[in-house]
Symmetry: C5
Subunit: 312 residues, 5 copies
C-alpha cells in the first residue's frame, strides 16, 4: 500500500510509481503509434479519402463502455475493500480472543502455570496472521516466520501441513480442550472461545475466496474486446475533424480506457505485494504489538515503516 502524507494535487498529477502506467504503457504505445501511422498516411496519401467515418458509433459505444468500465472498477474495489475488511476483522478478533484467553482461561491472575498456558495460546493467535499471509502470498519460503510463536515440534509439524492457518486454529482448540478438561475453563466460556476460533476460520475462508476466484473469464474477455476495438477504431472516427491532433486525442482516450481496465486488474487481487496491495505484513506486526503489550511484555517491536513510501 502506498502511503502518502496528504500530498498535494500536483503530487498526484505527476506521480508515476504505483500508477497504472506501469501496466499499460506497452499497449498504449502500440495504440498511439498505430494512430500516428494512420494520421500520417491519411495526410500524405489520403488513405481515408472518400471513406468518411462519422464519430457517431463512438458516441453510441462510448456510453455502454463507460458504464461497463464503471461496474468493472466498482467490482474490483469491492474485492479490495472486502479483503481489507477481513484483515481488519482479523485485528479485532485477535484482540478479542487474546482478551478472552487472558480472563476466561484459568483461575485468577496469580498462577504462573496458568499464565504460561495463556501465553502459549496468545502466541498461537499471533502466529495465525503470519500463517495466513504466507498462504495468501504463496511465500512458502517464509514459514520460518512462524518460529518465534510456536514450539519447535509445532513448527516441525506445521512445515508438513497443507493448510497451516487451519492447523493453528485446530492447535488452539486442542489446548483449550485440555484446559477445559482440567477444569480451567467454564463450558459456557469454552463456547465463547470457540466462536472466536470460528471467526478466525471465517476470515481465512473469506481471504481464500477472494484470492482463488478471478473475475469471470467471459467478463474480462468481453470488456477487453470492446475496449480494444474502440481504441483501435478511434482514429478512423476522429481523423477528419481532428487531423494532426488525432494521436493526442487517441492517447487521452486510450489512457482513460486502458487505465480504468488496468486499475481493475490492479486492485482486484489485494493480497499480493504490488504497490497498491494491502499491507499484510504491517497488519501482522500491528497485531503482534497489541498482543505482546497485553501480555505485559516490555520489549515491543516497532510498527512497520513504509519503504520508499510503500507499506508491505
Amino acid at each position: 500500500m502506498i502511503v502518502t502524507t496528504r500530498a498535494s494535487w500536483l503530487y498526484f498529477m505527476f506521480a508515476a510509481r504505483g500508477t497504472t502506467l506501469s501496466r499499460i504503457w506497452r499497449r498504449l504505445t502500440v495504440n498511439v503509434v498505430f494512430a500516428l501511422v494512420m494520421t500520417l498516411g491519411h495526410m500524405q496519401y489520403g488513405w481515408l479519402d472518400g471513406r468518411d467515418v462519422t464519430p457517431l458509433p463512438f458516441t453510441l459505444i462510448g456510453f455502454v463502455l463507460s458504464i461497463f468500465l464503471g461496474f468493472r472498477i466498482n467490482t474490483a474495489y469491492d474485492r479490495y475493500w472486502e479483503g481489507r475488511r477481513l484483515w481488519g476483522q482479523l485485528v479485532n478478533t485477535s484482540r478479542s480472543l487474546a482478551r478472552q484467553i487472558q480472563t476466561l482461561v484459568g483461575a485468577g491472575p496469580g498462577d504462573p502455570a496458568v499464565a504460561e498456558r495463556r501465553r502459549r495460546l496468545i502466541y498461537l493467535v499471533m502466529a495465525f496472521p503470519h500463517a495466513l499471509r504466507i498462504r495468501l502470498r504463496g511465500e512458502e519460503a517464509m514459514v520460518a516466520d512462524l518460529g518465534p510463536f510456536v514450539t519447535a515440534s509445532e513448527l516441525d509439524q506445521l512445515q508438513r501441513e497443507r493448510n497451516r492457518p487451519n492447523a493453528l486454529v485446530q492447535r488452539m482448540a486442542e489446548l483449550l480442550d485440555e484446559a477445559y478438561r482440567e477444569g480451567l475453563v467454564h463450558p459456557m466460556h469454552l463456547s465463547l472461545l470457540h466462536q472466536s476460533l470460528t471467526s478466525l476460520t471465517d476470515i481465512q475462508g473469506g481471504c481464500e475466496r477472494i484470492a482463488n476466484t478471478p473475475i469471470p473469464f467471459a467478463y474480462q474477455v468481453l470488456l477487453r474486446h470492446i475496449v480494444g476495438a474502440y481504441c483501435y477504431a478511434l482514429p478512423f472516427g476522429v481523423l477528419l475533424p481532428l487531423g494532426l491532433l488525432t494521436p493526442v486525442v487517441v492517447l487521452m482516450m486510450s489512457y482513460a480506457f486502458y487505465g480504468l481496465d488496468a486499475l481493475g486488474e490492479e486492485i482486484q487481487e489485494p493480497f499480493g505485494s504490488d504497490p497498491n496491495d494491502l499491507p499484510l505484513s504491517a497488519l501482522c506486526r500491528t497485531i503482534e504489538i497489541d498482543l505482546r503489550q497485553r501480555l505485559g511484555e516490555l520489549e515491543l517491536p516497532d510498527p512497520a515503516q513504509p519503504h520508499h513510501g510503500q507499506l508491505l
Copy 2:
C-alpha cells in the same frame, strides 16, 4: 471456472473458448447479414432514398439501454458472487464443524471408540458438499460419489431421499444427539454444534434460492425487446453517413449489446458446469483434503487440477 495464469492482454483479446461468442454467434450473424443486405440494397437500388433517418433516436435509446444492461450484468454478477460466497462459507463451516467435533465430542483424545465416532461425524461433513453439488447440478447418476463417506445402509437410505443434503444434516444431528444422551457432549456445546448445522442448512437454502429463481421474466423480455429492436433498426440510422462501413459498425455495436446480455445469462446461473461456472467439484475436494488431514490421515487426495484450463 476458467483458470488463467495472469495471461497477457493479447491473450484475452484473442480468446474464444469460454467467451460469450459461443452463445451469440447465431444472432450476431443474422443481424450482420441483415445489415449487409440493407446496405447493398440501398447502394444498388436506393432503397432508403428519401427516407432519411437521423441517428438521433439511437443516441436517445442508447443511454437507457446502456444503463439497463449495466444493471443487468451487475445483477447477474451479484448472483455469481453470492453463489461463490455461499460455497466459501461451506468451506469455512466444514472446517469449523470438524474442529468442534474433534474437540467437543467425547472424553479427551485417548479413547478409540470416541475417535471412531468423531471420524464418522466428520465423514458426514465431507459428504455434505458432494450431496449439495449433486443436487444443484442435477447429477442424479452420481449419488455413488457419497459412497466413501457414509455406511452402506446410510447410502441406501440416501438413494431414496428427495433432499439428500438435508437428510445428511439430520443424520449428523442424530449422531450428536446419541453422543449427548451418553454424556459425551456438554449441553452447551451441543448448542454450538447445532449452530454449525444451521449454518449448513442456510448455505444449502441460499444455493437453492439462486438455482431456482430466475431473473424475472418480464425483465428479460423487456431487455431483449429493446436490444433486438435497437440492433435491427441500427442500419437505418447509420446507412447514410457510413455507407459500406455500416455492417462493420453494426457488428461492433451488436457484439457489445448481445454480448453484455449473454454475459448476464452466462454468469447468473453459477452452479452448472459451463466454462464460467463455479468449480464446485474442486471445492468439494478442497474440503475433503482439509478434513482428512485434520483427522490425521496420511494418504490425501490431490487438489483438483484444471482440465484444458477449466476447473469443474
Copy 3:
C-alpha cells in the same frame, strides 16, 4: 413466477404473456396515436412550420431520465430479491427448526408420546408458511388451508386471530414451554429453539415491511411526470428530421420508458399472484415435503407444478 426451460433468444423476443405489455398497452397506444395525429397534421397542414424544435432538450433530459429509471428498476429489483431471500430463509429456518425439534425435544427416539409431541410441533412449523402466504396475499378465504396442520380447536382460534402467523409462533412457544417444564428440553436448548422462533418472526416482519411500504409517493409522481412529459413532447422534437417515421420512433422510445417504469411496478410487489410474482404456494409445498419426509412419512405430496408455465 414464470418458469422457462432455457428458452431461446427468439422465444423471449416474441413472448407476450407475463411481459410489461399487458400493463402499458393503453398508455402506449394513446401516446402513439397522438404522435400519429401530430405527424399527419404537420404533413398535411404544416402545423409545426416555423416552430423548429431541436432535439437538444431530449438529449439533455434523456440522461437524467435514464439514470432515474435505472435506479427505479434497481430499487424494485432489490425489493423482489429481498422478498425471495426472506422466503428462502423461511425454507432454511423450517428445516433447522424441525431438526432441532426432532433431536432436542424429549428423551431419545423411542418414546411414542414424545414422538407425537414432536409431530405436533413440526406440523405447526409447516402451517406457518401457509399462514404467512394467506396474510401477504390477503387470501382470507383460504384459512382452511391450515386445517391439515393444526387441531380443530387451534383452527377455530386461528379464525379469530388478526395476526395468524404470530399466533402460530406463540403456540409453538407454549408447547415448547410445556415440554421444558416437564423436563423434556434442556434450558440451553430451549434458548436455541427460541432463536429459531425469533427468526420466523423476523421473516414475517420483513415480508410485511415489503408488502406494506410502497415506493415513496413523490418518487413515483416525479418519475411519471418526467416520463409522460418526455414521451408526449417527443414528436415535436423529431418530426422535422424524421417525418413519417415519427410514430415508429415514438413507439420505440415510449415502449422503452413506459416499459421500464411498468417493470418496476411489476416486480416491486413480489407477494401477489401476478405472473412475475414469487411462487409462495410452491415454496409452502417444498417446506411441507421436506418436513414430512423428515418425520418419516411415506405418502408425500408432489412438488408444485407450473400451470401454463407459471408457478404460483
Copy 4:
C-alpha cells in the same frame, strides 16, 4: 406516508399533494420567469445577438449532473429504507420479546401474580415505540401518550428523563432482574431476554443516527451550485435554436433537476410527519394491537386509518 389503492397512471400524472412541487414551486417560478425575460429581451431587443452560445457545455455538464443527482436520490432512498427497516425490526423485536416474556418468565401459565408481572413487562414493550416516536419527532408535548402503558410513578420519572426510550429499556431490565433474583427466570433465558433488549437499543441508536446526521454539507452545497448554475444558464444555451419555446424547455428541465434534488430532501429525513414520511404512529398502533391480542385482551384498538390518504 401516502397510501394509494393501486392508482392508475393518470392519477399519478395529475397528483399534486405530496409531490415535490410544494417544495420547489418558488425556485421553479423564479427560474422560468428569468428565462421568459431573457427570451422576450432577446426577441425584442436582440440582447444575445452576436453572442452565440452553443448547447455544448450543457451536454457536457448534463452527464455529470445526472449521475450526481442519481447518487443523491439513491443515498436519500437508502436512508428512507433503512429507517423503515429499523421500524420493521422494532415490530419484530416487540413480538419476539413479548413471546419470550410470556413463556420464559415465571412458573407456568397458572399463577396470577406472574401473569401481572408479564403484563407489566409487555406494557413497557408497547410503550417503547411511542417513546421512540416522540423522541424522533421531537413531540415533547405528547409524553402523556405513554400514560396507558406505565404506572403513574414511572410516568412521573419518565417526564424528567432526557432519553426516555433508553430509560424504558433500563426499567425492563430491572423488572427482569427482580424476576431473576426471585428464581422466576433461568439465567440462560435472562441472557436471551437481554439480547432482545440490546436489539431495542440498537434500533433506537440506528434511528437517532439517521435523524441526527444530515447529508454532508459540502455535498449538498456542491450539488445545488451545479443545479443552480445549470438552470439559470440554460436559456443562453437554447435561446437561439428554440426561440419562444425556451421557457417551456427551461420549465421541463428545471422541474426535473430541482425536482430530483427536492425528492432527495423529502425522503432523506423519514421520521417527520411530512406526506412522504414513515407512518410511525401507525406502526406504534400495529405493535400495540399485536401485543394486546397476545395478552388475551379482547378490546383491541383499530388499526390506524389514513387521513386524507396519508398515514401518519
Copy 5:
C-alpha cells in the same frame, strides 16, 4: 459536522464555509487563468486558427469521467457513512453494556460496594469513546480527557499504552473477571458481557480500518490525470464556438469536476476535525450524559453545542 436548521435553498447557494471551494480555489484559479490567456491569445493573435478542434473528444471522455467521479463520491460517502454507523454502534453498545452492568453484576440493587463496582465499570465505558476519539484524531495531548473516568493509577498506566482503547477494554474484562470469581456474575452472563466487549473491539477496529486505509493510490492518480487533462484541454475544444465565453464555461465545468473530486477527499476521512467531519466529541458527550443519567447522577453535562454552526 456542519449543523443547519433546515436552511433555505438560497442559503445553500451562497454558502462558502465548509464547502469544497476552500480546497480547490487554487487549482480552479490557475485553470481559469490559463483558459483566459488562451482565449485572449486566440482573439488577438489567432493562436488556434487553422487548428480546429471539435468538441467531440470532450463528449466521449465526459461520459467515462462522469461515471468514474460518480463512483468516486459514492465510495467516499460509503466510508463516511460507515464511520458514522460505527460511532452510532458505539452509542448503542455503551448503553447496552451499561445496562448489563447495572443489572447483571452483583446481588440486587441494595449493596453499596456492588454499586461502586458498577460505577467504576460504567466510568470505564464512558472513557472508551474518548480514548478512541483521541486515537483516531491523533490528539496525544488530550489524554488527560480520560482523567475524570479512571483512577489515577489507571491514568498513569494509560499514558504509557500504545493502544489505549484496547487497554480500557482489557481493564473492563479484568474487573468483570474479579466480580465473576467472587460470584457476583453468573458465568452465562459473563459471556453476554464479553460479547459487548467484543463489540467495542470491533467498533475500534472498524474505525482504524477506515482511518488507516486510503483510497488506493492508483485510483486517485488515474482520476486526477483524467480530470486535469480534461480541464486543461477544454479551452481548445470550446474556443471556436464560444469565443469570449470560454473562461466562463471552463469555470463552470472545472468547478464541477474539481469540486466532485475534492468532495470525495473531504468526506472519505470522516474522523478529522474539518467542517464536514463527524462530530466525535459531541458523540462522546452524548454517551456520557446517557450513562451518567442511568447511574442516577443529577448533575449532567450539557449536550455539545455547535460552534459557529459546526459540531466538533
